[in-house]
C-alpha cells in the first residue's frame, strides 16, 4: 500500500463530468493528510486533451477503442489491473451511473473495502475519516477510511468543482489496457433527450413537484401556478417514474441540473439525488408537510403546509398581484 489517492475520471461523449472535479478537490485534501499524490485515472478513446484541466499531480491515461463508450465490463477489467499494480491508499469513483457499475464489483473482486455515498473526508491530524450522506440526506455516517485500499463512491456537495480544475496541464503518462475484445456489455446506440419540450436547465422560474403531489390530476394545479409566475413545471424522480411529467422535466442525478432565479420545491423531500442538481439556484423556496425534510436545509424560505392547499391560493394571489401591478 502506498499513500497516493487515485481518482477515476468520469467523462461521457467528450465532456468531463463535474463530479470528477469534485473528487479531485476531495483527493487533494486526503493526499495532504496521507502525504501521497493525487493521480487521475482516465480511460478513453482519443480524449487525451480532456485531461488538460485536471487538478492532479499526474494523469494516468489509458487509451482503447472500447472506452469510446462506457462499458462496465471494460472499466472493471482495466481498473482491476491499475489498482493491483499501484495499491493506492484510496480510489475515488463518482457515485453515479458510471462509478456505481464499477466500484462495487471491484470491491468484491479484489476483496477491498468500499464506502458509498461519501460526501466529505475528514483528516484533522488523525487517521482519515469518511462522512457519507445516507437515508435520503437525513443521516450522516462517519467512520475511519478503511484500509489497505479504500474504494470510495463520492456524491457531490462537499467540495466545489472549481477546486478540482487546474490552470496548467498536469503531467500525463500512458498506461495500457488489457485485452477487451469479448465484452459482455456494449453500447448499441444513444438516445438523446427528447427535443421540442422546454429545457428546464434554461428556465428562470421553476415550479418543481415531488411525491407530495400525490396524483396526476394535481399536476394541473402546479401547471397553473407555473403559468401565473411565468415559469414551467419540473419534477423529482418519483413524479417522472409515475409518468405524471415527461422525462425532460426531471431535475436530479439522471436528469438536468438547473440554475433558475426561483426554484419553488413543492412536496419534494430533498434527497441528495435531487438537491445535487439545484444548488446553483438563486433562491430555493421549499413547501413540505414534513418538518424534517432535508430540503429545508438548503432552502432560503420554507413553509410547513400542504402543497395541495397552497397551490390554488398562491396561484390566485399571484394573479391578483399581477393584476394590481
Amino acid at each position: 500500500m502506498n499513500s497516493d489517492i487515485f481518482v477515476v475520471i468520469e467523462h461521457l461523449r467528450g465532456q468531463v463530468s463535474d463530479i470528477s472535479y469534485v473528487m479531485l478537490a476531495a483527493a487533494r485534501g486526503l493526499a495532504n493528510a496521507t502525504g501521497g499524490k493525487v493521480i487521475a485515472v482516465m480511460l478513453g478513446h482519443d480524449v487525451e486533451a480532456l485531461a488538460r484541466d485536471l487538478a492532479a499531480d499526474r494523469v494516468l491515461y489509458i487509451e482503447h477503442a472500447a472506452f469510446a463508450d462506457f462499458s462496465s465490463d471494460a472499466y472493471q477489467r482495466t481498473l482491476e489491473n491499475v489498482i493491483k499494480e499501484n495499491a493506492p491508499r484510496a480510489v475515488l469513483f463518482g457515485d453515479t451511473t458510471i462509478g456505481g457499475d464499477v466500484a462495487a464489483w471491484l470491491s468484491t473482486h479484489l476483496a477491498l473495502p468500499l464506502v458509498s455515498a461519501c460526501r466529505t473526508f475528514r483528516a484533522d491530524g488523525s487517521a482519515p475519516k469518511f462522512v457519507s450522506q445516507i437515508c435520503g440526506g437525513k443521516m450522516m455516517a462517519e467512520g475511519d477510511l478503511p484500509a489497505p485500499t479504500a474504494l470510495v463512491l463520492m456524491v457531490p456537495g462537499g467540495y466545489k468543482p472549481e477546486q478540482g480544475r487546474a490552470a496548467q496541464a498536469p503531467e500525463l503518462v500512458h498506461g495500457s489496457a488489457p485485452a477487451l475484445d469479448d465484452l459482455r456489455v456494449t453500447v448499441k446506440e444513444y438516445i438523446e433527450p427528447a427535443v421540442g419540450d422546454v429545457d428546464v436547465a434554461k428556465e428562470a422560474i421553476l415550479v418543481a413537484i415531488g411525491r407530495g403531489v400525490q396524483n396526476q390530476d394535481n399536476v394541473e394545479l402546479a401547471e397553473e401556478l407555473a403559468k401565473s409566475l411565468g415559469g414551467v413545471v419540473a419534477g423529482s424522480r418519483p413524479v417522472i417514474d409515475q409518468g405524471w411529467l415527461a422525462p425532460t422535466r426531471l431535475v436530479g442525478k439522471s436528469g438536468k441540473a438547473v440554475k433558475p432565479k426561483l426554484y419553488l420545491a413543492l412536496g419534494i423531500s430533498g434527497a441528495p439525488e435531487h438537491t445535487e442538481a439545484i444548488g446553483d439556484s438563486e433562491m430555493i423556496i421549499a413547501i413540505n408537510t414534513d418538518p424534517t425534510a432535508p430540503i429545508f436545509d438548503i432552502a432560503k424560505f420554507g413553509a410547513q403546509v400542504d402543497m395541495l392547499d397552497l397551490m390554488p391560493v398562491l396561484t390566485e394571489q399571484v394573479q391578483q398581484a399581477k393584476g394590481l401591478a
Partner: protein, 253 residues
C-alpha cells in the same frame, strides 16, 4: 426465462429516525421497515417481462420484519415463487454480506436474469447488484429503466442530462433497476389478502453472514443545519401572501 429478484427492506423515511445509545446506528426498535423502492421497480420490471413472454419470477428476501407483506404483494402482482432466507439478521446486515448470501443461494436457482434495485437509501458499502454479479460471474449494468430479453438482454441505461444508452448485455446478467418501464402497479389490499391464502413462502437457511468489505460507522448524526430555511408561519393563505411579497422583493414578480 427464469428471472430472480432479490429484495431488501429499508427504514421508512416518513418515520422519525432515532439514533441508538451507541451513537453509531439507528435504533432498531424505533424503525419501521419498508420495501426498498428500487426493488419494487425491479419486481415490476420482472413481472412486465413475464407478461411479455413465458417466464417465471422468483422473489428472494432475507427473513426480516415486514418481508412477508412485501413477498405476498409481489405474488399478488404476478410473482410465481416467494423465498425467505432465514439467518441471524437481528443486528442488521451490510450489502457485502447480503450479496454473498443472495449469490450463494440464487446460484442454486440457475437464473438467466437477476433484477434488483439499483441502490437503496441506506447503502453505505455500495449496491448489492454489482457485488452479486461478481460472485456469480455475471455481467452487471445498473441505472436501467427498460429491458427487452431475447438470447441477450437489451437494456436502457440512464446517464445524466436525460441521455439514455441502449446497451447489449450477455446473459445471464444482473441488472440494477432504476425504474421499471411502467410505474409499479397498485394491488388492492383485498387481493394481497386473498393471495396470502393461496401463495406459499418457502424458507431456506442463509449461509453464515460474512460482513468483510464494508466500512464501520463510528458515528451517526443528523446533518448540520447551519443555514436552515426561514420558516413562514400560518396556513396556506398566510404563506401565499408572504410568498407573493418575497416574489416581489426578489424581482420574480
Amino acid at each position: 426465462m427464469n428471472i430472480v429478484v432479490p429484495i431488501k427492506m429499508v427504514p421508512d423515511l416518513v418515520e422519525e429516525l432515532v439514533i441508538d445509545a451507541s451513537g453509531a446506528r439507528l435504533d432498531p426498535d424505533a424503525l419501521r421497515l419498508r420495501l426498498n423502492e428500487f426493488d419494487d421497480h425491479a419486481i415490476e420490471q420482472a413481472i412486465l417481462l413475464k407478461e411479455k413472454g413465458a417466464g417465471q419470477v422468483t422473489v428472494v428476501a432475507p427473513d426480516i420484519e415486514g418481508v412477508d407483506d412485501a413477498l405476498f404483494t409481489a405474488a399478488a402482482k404476478g410473482a410465481d415463487r416467494l423465498i425467505k432466507l432465514t439467518g441471524n439478521w437481528n443486528n442488521g446486515v451490510n450489502n457485502h454480506a447480503l450479496a454473498r448470501v443472495f449469490a450463494n443461494f440464487i446460484k442454486t436457482l440457475r437464473p438467466e436474469l437477476i433484477l434488483t434495485g439499483v441502490q437503496a437509501h441506506n447503502d453505505l458499502d455500495g449496491a448489492v447488484g454489482p457485488q452479486m454479479a461478481e460472485h456469480l460471474g455475471m455481467a452487471y449494468v445498473g441505472y436501467v429503466s427498460g429491458v427487452i430479453v431475447s438470447d441477450k438482454a437489451q437494456v436502457r441505461k440512464e446517464f445524466p442530462g436525460g441521455m439514455i444508452a441502449e446497451m447489449n448485455v450477455v446473459l445471464p446478467a444482473v441488472l440494477g433497476i432504476q425504474a421499471a418501464e411502467k410505474p409499479p402497479r397498485y394491488v388492492p389490499i383485498s387481493k394481497v389478502r386473498a393471495t396470502m391464502k393461496t401463495a406459499k413462502i418457502e424458507t431456506f437457511p442463509a449461509m453464515e453472514l460474512e460482513t468483510a468489505g464494508a466500512p464501520t460507522t463510528v458515528r451517526l448524526f443528523q446533518p448540520e443545519t447551519g443555514a436552515r430555511a426561514t420558516m413562514l408561519e400560518g396556513d396556506a393563505d398566510a404563506v401565499a401572501t408572504r410568498l407573493v411579497e418575497i416574489f416581489r422583493e426578489s424581482g420574480v414578480l
